[in-house]
Amino acid sequence: MGSQRAQYTHLRDRWTQQHATLHGRLWEKHKEALEWMQKKSQHAAVGSLGAFMLFAMPGKQEFTMPKMLTANVSADIGKDIDKKAFVISDLSKIVPETVEPLSDSEEKQIANVFARYYGVNATAELEGKRLNRSYGYIGAEQHLKRFEGDTMEGHFDNPDDATKYYSSGMAPGRGAWGYFGTDEQAIQREKYYIAVQSFLSPGWQGNSKELYGFFKYRKMLVVNPQNGKAMVVVIGDAGPAAWTGKHLGGSPEVMKYLERVDGRQKGPVLYFFLDDPDDKIPLGPLPLADANV
């Protein structure tokens, strides 16, 4: 089953990226005529599938046709795929080809993409503090004990999660910040946690106590730039060791949603601090913000 899923995601990601390239090229070469058609369409009765499929532009607000005219054709094409193509396309122009630390300029551009597509304020540096990097390879972590005596048998709050995530197992010790607790917030935090290399962050040697407190359950946005999937998580553990070649770790739930795997096929993610002072953004998958796409 796992390999079939990998086949689907491989094709979907590849063809979505191809679409972004084709779309960008089309608009770059024929911008004047296409923009003319856009304007014309706002006043005339045009609603063919062929026209509808043309009018979506990466990085700009999607062209909208009169609802009556497009109702019968909009269902025919993958609107969600288009929206994901936009964010993938925009990120691909900024993120370096090799998995390396981002420059300040790249981080700012990516923060703008996040604000535009996900409607959140995410930054690589918050309150003057930052991690060792904001773009890196993510590895798979195990479940963490939420409280003393927590076991795999009683860890899940529903049978569906137990089926999906039992096989990942549970780490023998506690996370770097101790037990999460027993309330609903603790359940969410353990479910959607990442491990970061806090011990490699700038200033850790001289100010580890303050940074330890800052990183504890710090809310972050993690994005797979190759499929546009985004998730709001907390920092729940420290790791992985530098020698592993990985730069952060994700809980089983995080890895599955982002469609990232460990080992030879490991892939990179972007991970930025989420500026959410009133704690309004829930943990878990973050959909694209319709109004901004």
């Binding site: 796992g2 079939q4 689907y8 024929h30 296409l34 003319w36 058609m37 045009v46 499929m53 795929i81």
Partner: protein
């Protein structure tokens, strides 16, 4: 029945559908992938045709596409371009070759 696109009678994508049919995909997954194939084919052909037209002819062409006036599209293309049918078929075939290669690569994924 009217064809879906003005080029539907000369571009055949059933081999892609069949190749995807060989894979153990969910119905929605297959639909997603076929949607991407259709969109990518459409944008490839639109780019090709527009690249053979003047600025003014591009507008006339787009207007016909928007109104699904296939006969007018072909009248325009026959008047303003040379061998455009062959060029569309070649572009479509090239894209399909790449799509088949992608599918073959995907089937090797573990």
């Amino acid at each position: 029945m009217k064809k879906k696109h003005f080029y539907s009678h000369i571009v055949e994508t059933s081999s892609i559908s069949l190749s995807l049919g060989d894979m153990d995909l969910l119905q929605q997954e297959r639909k997603d992938l076929l949607t991407l194939v259709e969109i990518n084919m459409h944008k490839t052909i639109m780019d090709l045709v527009l690249s053979h037209l003047s600025a003014e002819d591009k507008k006339a062409f787009l207007l016909h596409v928007a109104n699904d006036h296939h006969e007018r599209i072909w009248n325009l293309l026959k008047e303003k371009t040379e061998n455009i049918e062959e060029k569309i078929q070649k572009a479509a075939n090239d894209l399909q070759k790449n799509l088949h290669k992608d599918i073959a690569d995907a089937k090797k994924k573990q």
